[in-house]
């Protein structure tokens, strides 16, 4: 029964947003509680739907909760309708999203209070001046994320997707402006936030436009955007009716790739990943919420939603899934490598997010649908946990720079513990969530790549190798982070003194998330694959074929040990470099000995300089080549507009005056000459009439008579011919 109220789920946070924005924006505490209340209500309803969905079991996949009662717009004789659609993966998202959001909301209540030293030396605690604004925006974000999850229509999905993009923009740029009396942020931060927010929005905009194009083409070829209709037996086949658009590229491939473009930008995959590290300029809860747990995973969710299309494409010979796998696999290792050289505690996590998202995509790309989906869920929990814990550290210490931390576990043991749990999960160490999901992916890659009945697939082999390597590096940089932050000696005494254990509203959410991180993995162990049964057993809407699933076998066992070995290997190397001999105060990072490689890593392979733009620490930004080119083009266009286009118009506008002058000139020179000529013919001396216009009436009369004669001659010529 609850399913009929699914559409109300996003309404609560959206309502909270409206109330805060319009009514209570000056009341900080009240706004926070309204926001939290909104999420709690949404969570309650979501859990209701989730439980009802669980009760339905795997059958839900082919027969999902669905309704599309809202006519959004009519076109010609048809309409586009909005509504809700909940299938097993959707219901899992409905469980994950509000839970994580609620934790983050509660965490933010305290986090958005800042402490600084007043003039008299006392420590002052005060709310951020934009406290209410923060809660309004994250409410809007949560609402649209929930709307996205339950969307029944790709257009509806897209709208929610874009509103999230706006929230992301606004929250990255949360500190992108500064009033005269605001002293808790400095100008450099303002500059960085400003540039980062625009960078994020525009980069994702590129993907959005690709997605929109794909969506429109899908609409045109299939004739609908409603998921259930689209994936109905006839729907996708319609795509093959039309002429292939570009050469050998068939419609499903083109559309799938365009839609995947949206994912690439939103989930920060190579080459559009450049925005995510800079997005860490936002407040930490935002990083946790948007840039780790939920919004970036919306990109993955898009691929999950459109999975029948990708499968259909590969069945008809397209290469879209291979592309997904390739990009995912490459990004997984690429971002992991970059994560090695970051000193900002949040940026390390940001790159790890990119890398993990690559994991999911690689899994989806090779056909490991369930594994990828499960990693999406677990990753949300442990990445949120990591970010929040890192935020607690930042909040306590007052800096992001890991090289200025060290030995913090003594000062903040709870935070340390939760961070440790999250880090272990990320590395994929038993028994935390990441271990189970990551292991599943590696297992699938191993199985499909090397032990498939249909022969070896080089691409999947590449994916496996890349993912395995990435797992190693993940353990390495996570270990580095752990050692630099919490172990060794404090490298900056001032910050160390400043550090303190987090207040209860901060560590309680951490603890809850840590709990989830610990237990959620057991939802889908290789021995008892409940999640697999729920999500994968009956396939998907429009794809009613169960996803291939193998019972626990030898290979799985080997895989467990392999992945554990990789993780421990990475951790050991990290310990060898950073833990065994801790980096001292003022010492450079040992990795800097790598020279040019380190510099390449630290500057992210100079991609920003190539097609994005680089944001410096002091808040200035340097445009990359592509951006500069657009700027140049713009200035040229304006010059063109002013000088050429408008110039032509003005020419026409001045035509009259020019003509007037011409007439004057004409009178003065031509007519005068004629007059003088006629004067000499009649034997009279020139100079009687200087010009026609001197006011000499005889001049006028001459012209008139000449005119009459000309007419007469005209007539005569006519008559004689």
């Amino acid at each position: 029964m609850v399913q009929n109220f699914t559409l109300l789920i996003p309404l609560f946070p959206l309502l909270a947003f409206a109330i805060i924005a319009l009514l209570t924006r000056s009341r900080n505490r009240l706004s926070a509680w309204i926001a939290i209340l909104g999420v709690i209500l949404a969570l309650a309803l979501s859990l209701g739907v989730f439980l009802e969905a669980l009760a339905e079991g795997a059958e839900l996949a082919v027969n999902p909760f669905y309704g599309a009662p809202i006519v959004w717009y009519p076109y010609g004789t048809a309409t586009v309708n909005f509504g809700w659609l909940v299938d097993p993966m959707g219901s899992a998202m409905l469980f994950m999203v509000p839970t994580v959001c609620l934790m983050i909301f509660i965490y933010s209540v305290a986090y958005m209070r800042h402490s600084h030293t007043g003039k008299d030396g006392h420590t002052i605690h005060e709310d951020d001046p934009r406290y209410a604004r923060f809660f309004a925006l994250i409410s809007l974000f949560t609402g649209s994320m929930l709307l996205l999850v339950i969307s029944s229509n790709l257009l509806q999905f897209f709208i929610a997707w874009e509103i999230m993009g706006f929230c992301s923009y606004a929250l990255i740029g949360f500190w992108s402006f500064r009033g005269l009396k605001e002293h808790h942020i400095d100008d450099a931060q303002v500059g960085r936030a400003r540039a980062a927010s625009i960078k994020a929005f525009l980069t994702t905009r590129v993907g959005d436009v690709l997605l929109m194009t794909g969506m429109i083409l899908l609409f045109i070829t299939v004739g609908t955007l409603d998921f259930t209709q689209m994936f109905s037996p006839d729907g996708l086949n319609n795509m093959l009716l039309g002429e292939p658009p570009i050469g050998a590229l068939q419609w499903p491939t083109l559309i799938a790739l365009l839609i995947f473009g949206g994912t690439v930008a939103k989930s920060a995959q190579f080459p559009l990943h450049i925005w995510l590290p800079d997005a860490m300029e936002g407040p930490t809860p935002v990083s946790a919420l948007i840039h780790a747990a939920t919004m970036v995973s919306a990109g993955i969710f898009l691929v999950i939603r459109m999975y029948p299309l990708f499968v259909f494409d590969s069945q008809t010979g397209g290469f879209s899934m291979q592309t997904v796998a390739l990009i995912g696999g490459f990004t997984a290792i690429f971002a992991a490598v970059l994560g090695l050289a970051q000193n900002d505690i949040k940026r390390v996590l940001a790159f790890s997010t990119v890398s993990q998202l690559g994991y999911m995509l690689a899994a989806l790309g090779i056909g490991a649908f369930v594994a990828g989906s499960f990693h999406l869920i677990t990753h949300a929990f442990f990445k949120a946990l990591l970010f929040l814990a890192a935020g607690a550290v930042i909040h306590a210490v007052g800096t992001n720079d890991m090289l200025k931390m060290g030995g913090l576990w003594r000062k903040m043991p709870i935070t340390f513990l939760t961070f440790l749990i999250g880090a272990l999960a990320l590395m994929g160490i038993f028994p935390f969530a990441g271990f189970w999901s990551k292991d599943e992916i590696l297992l699938e890659a191993l199985r499909l790549g090397f032990f498939s009945e249909s022969g070896a697939a080089p691409l999947v082999q590449f994916v496996f190798i890349s993912l395995a390597t990435a797992a190693f590096i993940t353990a390495l940089y996570t270990g580095r982070q752990l050692f630099l932050t919490f172990f060794g000696k404090p490298r900056d005494q001032h910050f160390y003194d400043h550090a303190h254990e987090s207040p209860v509203t901060i560590w309680v959410p951490l603890a809850i998330l840590a709990l989830f991180t610990t237990v959620i993995g057991f939802w889908n162990t290789p021995f008892a694959p409940a999640f697999t049964g729920y999500v994968g057993e009956a396939g998907l809407v429009g794809l009613p074929v169960p996803f291939e699933h193998h019972a626990f076998d030898q290979l799985a066992l080997i895989s467990i040990f392999v992945s554990l070995g990789i993780a421990f290997g990475g951790l050991f190397v990290a310990y060898f470099i950073y833990g065994f001999r801790p980096v001292g105060a003022g010492q450079p990072d040992p990795l800097e000995r790598l020279g040019i490689i380190y510099r390449a890593l630290a500057s992210k392979f100079w991609l920003d300089e190539l097609y994005g733009y680089k944001i410096n620490l002091d808040g200035t930004a340097r445009a990359g080549l592509l951006v500069r080119f657009v700027g140049l083009l713009s200035r040229f266009s304006y010059w063109f507009d002013r000088t050429i286009v408008d110039g032509l118009v003005n020419l026409v506008g001045w035509f009259g005056r020019i003509m007037a002058r011409l007439w004057g000139w004409f009178d003065k020179h031509v007519i005068d000459a004629i007059v003088n000529g006629s004067g000499s013919v009649t034997g009279e001396i020139a100079g009687w009439w200087r010009t026609m216009q001197t006011g000499n009436v005889q001049n006028y009369a001459l012209i008139a008579v000449a005119g009459a004669m000309a007419f007469a001659i005209l007539f005569l010529l006519r008559s004689f011919t």
């Binding site: 035509f655 009259g656 007439w663 009436v697 005889q698 008139a704």
Partner: protein, 519 residues
């Protein structure tokens, strides 16, 4: 002589008689009470205006006003032929040597003439109040109106010549009316010399016409040239010379050059008259000539008319762009307006129904009349108080005289042909007839020209609204007569646009008199 002749000629007779009366009274009163004489003149014009529809009704008494005006001919002057016959132009074989006709076209121009006269008279009271010899002016003015009407009614080369000279001579006198004013004197003598030469040239053409066809009657000449091709060369040559005289009246390029000088120098009410009266009458003659005499040569004169139209409107508009004196600017503007009318003349030829072109010209004339007079009335009102005739002196007029400023905008819009004004309707008909006649290119040139014209018309408006009031500039007041004239012009300009049917009917009846003779 039939007694009806007097009735058919009554408007002209009333005007001439009133003029004589005014001369007499002025002599008697030795230049005093000139205001009264002005009212006498006004009364005469009103009477003439009322008489016109009576004449029209007389010819078809059973039908209500404005439906079917019949076609009456009044022959006049026994020395030249038979006495009056009541005969239609539509049966050319019965034509006698008629000098003067009182038909629908004449009636149309009677209305036009009387209205012109009344409006200008209203405007000239204040202007003349402070000047000498006002009484004579009113008399002269009545004669000018009468001659203008007579020109429109002339159906005979002799009569055309006489009326034209009548109108010219009166105009010369009125132009030079400000005897002590150098500009006025100069304008008059230039006007005179130019006019005299032009009419001599035209006269030469008329004599050739007479020689070629042996007749002075337009219809007869038309009959001859239609049936007999022998006279083609001579007739066309003569026609070209005649065009000089008519072109001079209308101020067509290249016979236009007197106009700016005369307009600038003449007293402004006279300028107003010059910009309407002779032009309108010239078109009446041109219409008669075109349709009754030389329709058979249409291939030739369509080229000629198109050429003249293009050159006239282009030159008028382009030179007007650089004028700073409002009177001179309006002079060039009226040259350009004549160019638009020539488009209508040119499009008489080609279409299946040539009368559409006639219609367009007549409607344009009526629209132009009110608009142009209105504009001149504004100029007069401003000149009366400040003596200003330069655009730069018009600053802040919206503060000093809001009514004048607003009406000036309206009249300028009308001259530029922007709705909802009579000028738009006129252009609409003219361009429409051009398109219909297959002269689309002419219409395109016409609209381009009307675009150019907007620029200078708005140059007049601009200081009135945008510039500040000059230091010490007086608030402009004007007497109720002038205000009345202004309001009448404005309302007429508006109503012609909003309710064009009466005018359209009038023009149609006016055009009906022509039966087109095709070889």
């Amino acid at each position: 002589m039939d007694g009806l002749v007097l009735l058919y000629l009554s408007p002209e007779l009333v005007l001439i008689a009133a003029a004589l009366l005014i001369f007499g009274l002025d002599l008697l009163w030795r230049g005093r009470k000139s205001q009264t004489l002005g009212f006498v003149a006004l009364g005469a014009l009103v009477v003439a205006l009322i008489l016109t529809p009576i004449i029209a009704l007389r010819s078809a008494p059973t039908l209500p006003f404005g439906v079917e005006w019949g076609n009456q001919i009044a022959l006049f002057c026994g020395a030249c032929g038979q006495t009056v016959v009541d005969i239609s132009y539509w049966s050319p074989q019965q034509i006698a040597d008629a000098l003067y006709v009182s038909d629908n076209l004449t009636n149309f121009f009677r209305l036009i003439g009387c209205v012109t006269g009344i409006v200008i008279l209203l405007a000239s009271y204040e202007y003349m109040a402070t000047r000498k010899y006002a009484g004579e002016f009113y008399g002269m003015f009545l004669l000018a109106v009468a001659s203008m009407i007579m020109l429109a009614g002339s159906a005979n080369l002799l009569m055309i010549f006489l009326s034209l000279e009548f109108l010219s001579i009166v105009s010369y006198i009125m132009t030079g009316y400000l005897r002590e004013n150098k500009l006025s004197n100069e304008a008059a003598i230039k006007y005179f010399l130019f006019g005299a030469i032009a009419s001599a040239v035209m006269l030469y053409g008329l004599s050739l016409f007479y020689g070629a066809t042996g007749s002075l009657n337009l219809v007869e000449i038309g009959h001859v040239v239609t049936t007999d091709t022998n006279y083609e060369v001579l007739s066309l040559f003569a026609l070209a010379l005649v065009m000089a005289g008519i072109g001079f009246k209308i101020a067509l390029v290249p016979f236009h050059q007197w106009a700016p000088d005369a307009y600038e120098g003449a007293p402004t009410p006279v300028t107003a008259f010059l910009s309407v009266g002779p032009k309108v009458a010239g078109f009446a003659v041109l219409l008669r000539l075109t349709l009754e005499v030389m329709f058979v040569y249409r291939v030739d004169w369509v080229i000629l008319y198109s050429l003249i139209a293009v050159v006239t409107m282009t030159l008028g508009n382009v030179i007007a762009l650089v004028q700073s004196n409002v009177k001179r600017l309006l002079a060039y503007s009226s040259i350009a307006q004549a160019g638009y009318m020539m488009i209508g003349m040119a499009s008489i030829s080609g279409s299946s129904n040539p009368l559409e072109g006639v219609n367009a010209v007549l409607i344009y004339i009526a629209a132009y009349l009110f608009t142009n007079l209105g504009a001149f009335l504004v100029v007069i009102a401003i000149e009366n108080k400040t003596g200003a005739v330069d655009i730069s002196q018009y600053g802040g007029m919206i503060k000093r005289a809001p009514l004048l400023a607003v009406l000036m905008v309206f009249f300028m819009l009308s001259l530029a042909g922007i709705p909802p004004t009579a000028g738009f309707l006129g252009k609409f008909f003219v361009f429409g007839s051009a398109v219909n006649a297959g002269l689309g290119w002419l219409a395109v040139l016409g609209v381009i020209n009307s675009l150019i014209s907007v620029y200078y018309y708005f140059r007049v408006i601009r200081p009135m609204f945008f510039d500040p009031v000059p230091e010490g500039a007086p608030v402009i007041t004007f007497d109720p007569w002038l205000r009345f004239g202004l309001v009448v012009s404005a309302i007429a300009t508006l109503l012609i646009m909003l309710f064009p049917m009466p005018l359209f009917n009038l023009a149609t009846y006016g055009a009906q008199i022509f039966g087109v003779a095709v070889r």
